[in-house]
């Protein structure tokens, strides 16, 4: 029974990280219809900047996370301005090719600067928490708590602020948004910044219990795509729930079946759910 609850905690941890990445991806898809493969590279760059801030400059963990979030948000905005904006109006395939190009470019740059080696990002929270007879590494609890706090913050931002409403308005009707005077390029930039910051935070939360290396974002972005297709493209609750579904499937699959099949489980589940519900769990876009 203890092992069962242990797997729940693991599933929540993985699910939280996946959800954060998927939220950024689905926001961009919902508003700009760009399948942003470079999102995985932003996740990776976030981990590297935190590693740089914490390791080379001696910034504390949470400060390094904030720094990485800012840097990656700016990088995401730059990618919108320099890569995706000029492609506005072009077929979606062009966006996709550009995004994959950007992914490879960023990986190559990171590899040129920091090398192809594996690095470790240290977290100050290495204690083990004993809770109701369960053993939980503090970092895992932090991941879950931070992720849920961010999701709540994002929800409040989108529902309660004027700027949040402009993002939702543009997702629901682009032309209607332009006609009330909402500036599409400003909304795009804000969306890219949020999405980049979410990816960076997810990476920095997860890095202390995994590793930092140039290709670390590849599998994550593939899974994030699986998640947003599962959840319904553009749906925010879908991204969170889809993230949890994949996180739980992986942690339980790894424990009860085999760790070797951990990554296959997500994709097998994807095929299964898609064959039953082809439009995803929550079709209908950004609300």
């Amino acid at each position: 029974m203890v092992m069962f609850f242990q797997q729940i905690l693991n599933g929540l941890t993985l699910g939280s990280v996946y959800s954060l990445v998927a939220l950024g991806l689905t926001l961009i898809y919902g508003i700009l219809h760009i399948p942003n493969f470079s999102h995985g590279a932003l996740y990776m760059v976030g981990a590297y900047f935190a590693y740089f801030f914490a390791g080379s400059l001696g910034v504390p963990y949470w400060g390094a996370m904030a720094g990485a979030a800012v840097v990656v948000a700016l990088l995401a905005v730059a990618s919108e301005r320099l890569v995706f904006r000029p492609l506005r109006g072009a077929p979606v395939l062009h966006d996709m090719i550009a995004a994959i190009g950007l992914l490879l470019f960023l990986e190559a740059v990171v590899q040129a600067i920091w090398g192809a080696d594996f690095h470790r990002l240290q977290s100050p929270h290495t204690q083990i928490v004993h809770l109701f007879g369960l053993v939980a590494p503090a970092q895992r609890l932090l991941i879950v708590a931070a992720a849920f706090a961010l999701m709540l913050g994002l929800h409040l931002f989108l529902q309660r602020t004027v700027m949040g409403s402009t993002i939702i308005a543009m997702a629901q009707d682009r032309e209607g948004a332009a006609l009330v005077g909402i500036d599409a390029s400003r909304v795009s930039m804000v969306t890219f910044a949020i999405s980049g910051a979410l990816a960076a935070v997810a990476a920095v939360l997860f890095a202390p219990i995994s590793l930092v290396y140039p290709a670390m974002g590849d599998l994550v972005i593939l899974k994030a795509f699986v998640i947003i297709i599962l959840g319904g493209m553009g749906s925010l609750p879908g991204a969170i729930l889809g993230g949890m579904v994949i996180g739980f499937a992986e942690s339980f699959g790894a424990f009860y079946i085999s760790t070797n099949y951990k990554d296959i489980i997500a994709f097998a589940l994807f095929v299964l759910i898609m064959s039953v519900r082809p439009s995803g769990l929550f079709p209908g876009g950004v609300r």
Binding site: S165, G176, I182
Partner: protein, 235 residues
């Protein structure tokens, strides 16, 4: 107040607007008559800055606005209520209306007062204010769309086919509301296929065919014109 001169618009090779010139004075209600595809919507989208002009000028309050951004055009006082309404279907009616006041977001108090006036004009929207706009009937959605445009504090209101797809009784309500808005001093440019009903409330009208203005005149002239009666009124 609003004066278009030689407006030309292309979609690729296709010329959607061909040297369109027209004007609307303060407080006027001007109707644009024309069949589907004649260029009425293109004209309105061009005025709103959502379509790039090949040539021509748009002067509003003696200022050239033809190259301005859509958000600046709304802020300057030209507000467009589009064909197909273009509401935010998942948002509540009240939120749709408040987003209509987006360019005036620093004046929250003014917008709160204005939303009460919109509810006064369309009392039923007040009852439905917390419902998602997408759940309303076509006529009610049209009222939300007009209300949202009013929240932008228009000096000139562009209304594109507000009666499209509505039941005759609802069409009369919508047109009465438009007349009331106009009577309070807002200049209205109204595109309609429903020529007879639209001409009843118009001061003047233009007829547009294949992207060109082919006729203009006051209400009586057009109502009595034989070719207009044949083509648009069917009597």
């Amino acid at each position: 107040m609003l004066r278009l001169d030689g407006l030309t618009l292309h979609y690729g090779q296709f010329r959607a607007l061909d040297r369109v010139s027209l004007h609307a004075g303060p407080g006027e209600l001007v109707v644009m008559l024309g069949a589907n595809g004649a260029g009425k919507s293109s004209l309105f989208l061009a005025i709103s800055g959502l379509r790039k002009l090949s040539a021509g000028s748009i002067r509003f309050n003696e200022r050239e606005v033809a190259r301005d951004k859509p958000s600046d055009i709304v802020a300057s006082g030209i507000v467009h209520c589009p064909e197909g309404r273009k509401l935010f279907p998942g948002m509540s009616v009240a939120k749709n209306l408040m987003l209509g006041a987006y360019v005036h977001r620093r004046d929250r108090r003014g917008s709160d007062a204005l939303i009460d006036r919109v509810f006064g004009l369309f009392p039923m929207l007040h009852d439905k204010r917390n419902d998602p706009a997408g759940s309303l009937s076509g006529g009610q959605q049209q009222m939300v769309a007009i209300g949202r445009a009013l929240m932008g504090r228009p000096q000139v209101l562009l209304l594109d086919e507000p009666s499209l797809g509505l039941a005759p009784l609802v069409v009369r309500q919508v047109l009465a509301a438009i007349k009331a808005i106009n009577a309070e001093g807002t200049t209205v440019l109204l595109a309609e296929q429903n020529a007879y009903a639209a001409l009843q409330i118009a001061d003047r009208a233009y007829v547009i065919e294949s992207g060109r203005i082919v006729m203009e005149g006051d209400r009586q002239t057009l109502l009595n014109d034989e070719s207009i009666r044949r083509a648009y009124i069917g009597a």
